[in-house]
Symmetry: D2
Subunit: 339 residues, 4 copies
Amino acid sequence: MIYFDSDYMAGAHPQVMQALVESNLEQTTGYGSDAYTAQAAALIRQACDAPQARVHFLVGGTQTNATVIDGLLARHQGVLAAESAHINVHESGAIEASGHKVLTLPQHEGKVKADEVKAYIDEFYRDDSYEHMVAPGMLYISFPTEYGTLYSLQELSDLSQVCHEADIPLYVDGARLGYGLAASDVSLPDLARLCDVFYIGGTKMGALFGEAVVINNDKLLKHFFPLIKQHGALLAKGRLLGVQFKALFSKGLYEEIGREAVAKALRLKAAFVEKGYQVEVDSPTNQQFFRLPNSLIDRLKQEASFEYWGPRGQQESVVRFVTSWATSDEDIDQLIALL
Amino acid sequence: MIYFDSDYMAGAHPQVMQALVESNLEQTTGYGSDAYTAQAAALIRQACDAPQARVHFLVGGTQTNATVIDGLLARHQGVLAAESAHINVHESGAIEASGHKVLTLPQHEGKVKADEVKAYIDEFYRDDSYEHMVAPGMLYISFPTEYGTLYSLQELSDLSQVCHEADIPLYVDGARLGYGLAASDVSLPDLARLCDVFYIGGTKMGALFGEAVVINNDKLLKHFFPLIKQHGALLAKGRLLGVQFKALFSKGLYEEIGREAVAKALRLKAAFVEKGYQVEVDSPTNQQFFRLPNSLIDRLKQEASFEYWGPRGQQESVVRFVTSWATSDEDIDQLIALL
Amino acid sequence: MIYFDSDYMAGAHPQVMQALVESNLEQTTGYGSDAYTAQAAALIRQACDAPQARVHFLVGGTQTNATVIDGLLARHQGVLAAESAHINVHESGAIEASGHKVLTLPQHEGKVKADEVKAYIDEFYRDDSYEHMVAPGMLYISFPTEYGTLYSLQELSDLSQVCHEADIPLYVDGARLGYGLAASDVSLPDLARLCDVFYIGGTKMGALFGEAVVINNDKLLKHFFPLIKQHGALLAKGRLLGVQFKALFSKGLYEEIGREAVAKALRLKAAFVEKGYQVEVDSPTNQQFFRLPNSLIDRLKQEASFEYWGPRGQQESVVRFVTSWATSDEDIDQLIALL
Amino acid sequence: MIYFDSDYMAGAHPQVMQALVESNLEQTTGYGSDAYTAQAAALIRQACDAPQARVHFLVGGTQTNATVIDGLLARHQGVLAAESAHINVHESGAIEASGHKVLTLPQHEGKVKADEVKAYIDEFYRDDSYEHMVAPGMLYISFPTEYGTLYSLQELSDLSQVCHEADIPLYVDGARLGYGLAASDVSLPDLARLCDVFYIGGTKMGALFGEAVVINNDKLLKHFFPLIKQHGALLAKGRLLGVQFKALFSKGLYEEIGREAVAKALRLKAAFVEKGYQVEVDSPTNQQFFRLPNSLIDRLKQEASFEYWGPRGQQESVVRFVTSWATSDEDIDQLIALL
């Protein structure tokens, strides 16, 4: 069986695992107060060209979103997000469980548009009853989105401008950030410059687990540590996060993982297109969505594992194929051979 | 430097790490739906002699407590706990953040007494205003407690009886459970029989991270999976928890880790006592509390790392020494030589 | 100036006020434990033909919705509601503030459709990831809706059936219930029979304030009193609610208030239609929505007060006129004369 | 039967009721945007000698406490309060339900001591683990306390100073404020000067219901209106609160109600003392606590209604007698005659 279900199906990238093994018997203080964590944070600040940024390491994506959003919003505020946003659909209500409404915007292949964000905010404050409504208190976007799509640097700049004119923070969920950086004109320093807070995904990028939150606005999240603890997101053996992110941000590993997985995904995409199959979303990253005949899907399932996204009429369905560092060239060859 | 600060200062026990390394490149489905997780759960059910129990794996202690307690309590209820309980003191208000009050009971070396639990509940319902107050909806205890002390089987049975007569669940925080089992007449089957829910700590018992929640009451926590997700406690690469607990519950490793660390702690204790130093709390487990002259503390700190708990008058202070699987006989010898 | 802004612009109906004045100097116990409250509850049970129903009196609509919904939902569940629902738009996030997501359904002139409710629930449980999503835990509808429209008895029966087949409660927000009962084939006994919980609005129906929650399912909201207190919805001088609802449910007053206000609203509607103006929503109750030329709106505003709902192109806008017990025939005459 | 159970057993003071009756048929806009509310706020600002203060009117005490405290605290903070504080004991966990821990201080006849507040805060920040604990984010006190006792102007100044040095707000629950003002050297301008936020109780001071929140710190509670709505504390017919507080703050009515009820309470106290009965708490306000023989209690209960607070040994118990504007001189005479 060859696996394309997701990018969290294997353990850690061998270099990351190696770092964990090598440091395993060391004893360090807990909760991220160790030297590995400090080194990882320094490497990330450097990669982001953001010497003042604060960097915190959490375990997983949903908990990171819940902790950051809870820390950014006042009680009367909600978070603006695409209706397809992970926080709106697939986090079991974690945002609402900490008391905040997700205010949905139309999604365009998973993306929101700057003018629609602006219109939402403008209309909100024009409504006579706005004090009876949930105020837009921040903007959440994902990069890449849940559909693998990306904001261009111009689009990201426009969103940043709209947010800052409205005096609300811009937060970027980078669960698959490395795949996005590999396929776009947006760099880590761009993100650090344009966003107030973002996170650099580790779980889906070669770590066993872990997400690095970068806060590049000194007015926000001033008391983030106790919030991490309160949200159950503080790892006792915090150095495990430091060790892993240090490995990911050494010797260009993070970029390499993103670049290679994207190349494999694009090879897959090209093969499907060449065979005449329809791309459902034109994704430039490691998630690819195809509309396939149900008969082909049934046949592929005999030898490959991938995600079913839903029917399109009686004869076809949309499926998702995802690559990662654990996807080999042979996996791709083998899949293509099945088409 | 020799380390006695806590039991989460090293990585994983070598056998656990080995299991992680061996399975690292395998691809499995996520969120605990893999075979390792199923095998670990089966081993735990067997060790607990509880074939019907449901077993879930979460990442850390605070998130486990918050998730379980949130799932057990109705909105008008609070959780009874010793005033020294971890949930009351050192979880940054995670219980309250999910809407519940911690109702405190007097602590006796970290323990609560069955008759005081019963008296609290009886007095609550005798109060004319009880519907204006937070109802006791469950009992939380830790085993071992935050002071390293243990409930005897009789004490645990008494607490169980009080809870069941009051129709409230008994929940045991077993962050250091293995050290407790090694030093008491209470077994895993006893816990499964007497408690409604308990967790078997991994983080402090040789895992990189991870806690196994055992639910042995089919009326409770019926929808626990989405709660885990909502609380940010669901690990994407869930099999990491399965792999680790499978290793811990194979070949008697969990018992061995507990037994050896306790033996080392007791050797340490005996040495302090022999030298004439006062034991602050008479702990039979891997946490030891001594009242030492400040001058000795200053001297020990040159070569050993341990926790400061607070002053006792002008000349003395209480300090904590903790052993784990990572504590070697040489560490103990070296510390004793310093006394 | 004549007022058509809303149905909460005057104080209490004179008979209600008279009851408050007459009982003012009496001393009774608090929190609804008095005889007036018991009498009002008995009158409501009788009017609902629901001798087993529990009746609780709260102060206002938003707090009633928040308290009931919080009590009905488990932590992993959300509340299904039309996207135009008051709880989704105009309650400042009160539902989310107590931890629950509002799961939105398409609205059809403010109403939801039984088959769309059923489809939502069916699709939810067909989704492989449903345990990562917020489960539909109850259905909220308003009667009349925010647009003044009504469910027929058949529509309500269909919704009830869908809910009960899915084993989730049906809750009806009756802030303006009396106006709905006056204009439909649905009776109080129908509501009691088809819904699990509903509330009979007082604030907009002639009381100074107050809403009567009717619980006709003995498995639900078993500990409702402490929840009322916890939500800040418990009135110290609870008998004020009893006195008012006793007056409303004596001598047919509640029906009379509904009937007369609806008759006035329909006279207004007929006059607008006769003059050739367009009805925006075909409402049979005390809220009427017209699409009027902006020039007419400006002219009317000189002498009448009413709500602006939004533009329709450059020349026209939608406005709302609301009648109540405080609307006199002369008010209607005077408005019609202005057309 | 003569009633001394509490100060919320009758309706409104006749002058307050008169104002409600006279304004009853007027139509005004809702939610406190009317002229009565503006006038009441102006009168309160004037009485407080605080021209910049913002004044908001809510319905009841528990909801006021929950709304203010939720607005003042950041997510990682809790509220310091005496362990006997109403928010800690008798609000069904409303503070925790909005996510915050009540951090308890020892109570001294219901009061907290400035040096103990200071010590708590100092020790908190000296604890190495303080970021794992709930930070003290504000101080709640009640004036009078739940035991009828009062802070002197000096004590209040000391608390204010401790809070401001620690940069946390001081909030005063004035559910029975008028009785406190009548019996102490503290004035409304003192409260406005020394506290950041306080509320002037109406429910227990002659209103049907209502509490006036005074915010005299322009950095705090900047978005209070939507929080009021979110907490279900916004009255649709908001002018009812304005009308009542306008009446209370006209012609010295609020002071008069406080003064007269306290005078009656002190007459009662003197009579008990003269008869040789023991005062349990030396209260200078309208709540009086006596330790009486159970036989006397049984006898009094035949003709008077009052609250039972708990046993003192086998033969005696503590009971509470409360006076209000509704207590007549004849009520007092009659009770004294029974002794």
